[in-house]
């Protein structure tokens, strides 16, 4: 059974304080690992797809990396508008299995 575990569950940062979110996974036949951002009352917004160990992708202050067992979402110099829940999901076959999410709060 595919499993995805995200840590920490919640993270409070000061504006400008860089940090990383972790996504550990167990899956048979990984087709892709996805990162989404979800704001309160909205659907998840696609951020990145990673396909193989060693791959990295960047978007503004966010950088996602992938190993054979986990993925990291690095947030560099975060701003209050980066506050959201970040979801990690793995794909085997056509379906996604989601982790529990990390709720990020960035204080000005």
């Amino acid at each position: 059974e595919d499993q995805v575990t995200q840590s920490p569950e919640a993270l409070r940062l000061q504006e400008g304080e860089s940090s990383s979110l972790n996504c550990s996974y167990t899956v048979s036949g990984l087709r892709g690992l996805f990162w989404y951002r979800q704001d309160p009352g909205k659907g998840p917004e696609f951020l990145f797809t990673l396909y193989s160990a060693g791959e990295e992708k960047e978007k503004e202050r966010l950088k996602a990396t992938l190993t054979k067992k986990e993925s990291f979402l690095h947030i560099t110099a975060p701003k209050p508008e980066d506050s959201a829940t970040y979801l990690c999901a793995v794909q085997a076959g056509n379906m996604l299995t989601f982790g529990g999410g990390t709720r990020l709060m960035v204080k000005p």
Binding site: G32, F34, G43, P44, N94, M95, T97, G100
Partner: protein, 115 residues
């Protein structure tokens, strides 16, 4: 990418009634999915909506409770039947674009409260 809309955005329903949620995609897509997100929780897949055939349900979800239709490549509906307060959740539709990326894009969700 795909732009997805859902109707209604929210509803408050009485116990024992049914609600049908609509999902519209702005382009033809291969795969459409329905998820449930209970308060403070992550997403759980309910079923894959297959065009022209019955939906494929995940463990713990049954067709009698969550009937799904997918009449074409841009539209799907999910019905929550004989509702109870435990069905209060956000219901999300997603569309998967086939190809190298296989990315799923999500609608804004339908917030359902059952009294």
């Amino acid at each position: 990418s795909a732009v997805i809309s859902q109707k209604p955005s929210r509803d408050i329903c009485q116990r024992g009634t049914s609600l049908t949620i609509q999902c519209q995609v702005d382009s033809q897509v291969t795969m459409m999915f329905w998820y449930r997100q209970q308060p403070g929780q992550s997403l759980t897949l309910i079923a894959t909506a297959n065009q022209g055939s019955e939906a494929t349900y995940e463990s713990g979800f049954v067709i009698d409770k969550f009937p799904i239709s997918r009449p074409n490549l841009t539209f799907s509906t999910l019905t929550v039947s004989n509702m109870s307060p435990e069905d209060s959740s956000i219901y999300l539709c997603s569309a998967g674009l086939a190809g190298p990326t296989d990315t799923q894009y999500f609608g804004p969700g339908t917030r359902l409260t059952v009294l």
